[in-house]
Amino acid sequence: MTVGILIVSHSAAIATGTVELARQMAADVPLVAAGGTDDGGIGTSFEAITAGIEELADAEAVVVLCDLGSAYLTTDTALDFLDDDVRARVHVSQAPLVEGAVAAAVAAQTGGDVDAALAAAASAAGSEADASRASSPSGDGPGGAAPVSGAGPVDDVAASETVELVNESGLHARPAAEFVKTAAKFDAEVRVNGVDAKSLLAIMALALPRGASVTIEGTGADAQDAVDALVALVRSGFGE
């Protein structure tokens, strides 16, 4: 399932910049910018949005992220003019543009379907603290919501290891994306310092610098493999 992403902004620079930013972490996801008016001014373009959806015709689903009011209005209007079968493939996210685009793109890059991309974008909607909370499973889910520090070990952790971040920039955007991509390869529920290891925003919200301790815990059939792979990734310094 391929998910394409359309960035609708009042500003061509914001739209293309957001596409560049997201592409850095999601090289294989089709990303299209529809920013500014047709004559290069500030505003949103019905034509550019329609053309952008057309450009993403090969994607099985399209997630649209918008910046401000009229970006949504123009997008909604453009959708009204599409054939029903095309219209059904297009989903407008209410998430904030930059964070939502990055989160949706990483979700799509790691094999997520359109629902996963929309959910990832939605998890960017709150503050960073809200995002990490939203990404945690509910208290009755596997692994529980108990934080690792202070609350003691979680009973059903099948594999756990603590390593030190050795790379220069710590767990910033690119390494965090690498981390999420690796975690997503496993079925196991994986948590890093208490947050969902498959949530880019939750990991970035941890803002872990070089030298920080990273505790990786996994539950589920391939938990040990997942923890081993992630520990190896951290120790490798993410190629920096």
């Binding site: 008016t37 047709d38 001014g41 500030i42 505003g43 949103t44 373009s45 019905f46 034509e47 401000l68 009011g69 009229s70 209005l73 123009t74 909604d76 209007t77 009204d80």
Partner: protein, 208 residues
């Protein structure tokens, strides 16, 4: 004059002229509580509409309204494009292929326009938007038609009510659009979309 195709074309011409004339005023209103582009955007939109109307030939008022809709949607660039564009599109659908609008059809056209704006922008009366001008206009048109007024009188009733409606936005805090970021600072300023609605409806009266 009957509200026929010639009226619809004259309405477009008069709208383009009045928006051009009031461009600076609309820019100023929008600069006070928005992003300052309403006058320029609408002027650009109606210039494009005028070109398309001059270039085409039309059999019904509905056909004219439909061209207005598509041109505004594709050229305005701000929120007014999809909002007014949807209004004209729904109005065109309500007008259907009748050769001239009678009073009841006119009420349906105005109601469809207002409903299109509401469904597109999700604004209600009191949110300090163009809906504050459109809704009383539709109500007044309905009352005039029910009282047996002529189409011209129905149109005049709508335009007069829009003026009062636009004025009613002055003391409001905005709940939609860019002005909603301003909170109390929007109080004392008229909503530019409500004001341009007044000019559009007044142009319709002048053409009749």
């Amino acid at each position: 004059m009957a509200l026929d195709t010639a009226w619809a074309i004259d309405w477009v011409r008069r709208t383009a002229a009045t928006i051009d004339e009031h461009r600076a005023e609309l820019v100023t209103l929008d600069r006070e509580i928005g992003d300052g582009d309403h006058g320029e955007n609408l002027d650009r939109g109606f210039r494009a509409v005028l070109e398309a109307v001059d270039a085409g030939s039309f059999d019904t008022p509905g056909a004219v309204l439909k061209v207005v809709a598509t041109k505004l949607i594709s050229t305005v660039g701000g929120a007014a494009g999809p909002l007014f564009g949807t209004a004209y599109l729904k109005a065109a659908q309500a007008a259907g292929d009748v050769a001239e609008l009678d009073a009841d059809t006119l009420v349906q056209v105005l109601t469809a326009a207002r409903d299109g704006i509401v469904s597109r922008g999700k604004a209600a009366v009191g949110d300090k938007t163009m809906v504050d001008a459109w809704s009383p206009a539709v109500d007044a048109a309905g009352a005039a038609a029910a009282a047996g007024d002529s189409p011209e009188q129905v149109l005049a009733a709508a335009a007069d009510a829009a003026v009062t409606g636009a004025e009613s936005t002055d003391p409001l805090v905005a709940h939609k659009g860019r002005a909603s970021y301003l909170g109390e600072r929007a109080v004392g300023h008229r909503d530019p979309g409500a004001q341009s609605t007044v000019y559009i409806l007044r142009a319709a009266v002048d053409a009749a």
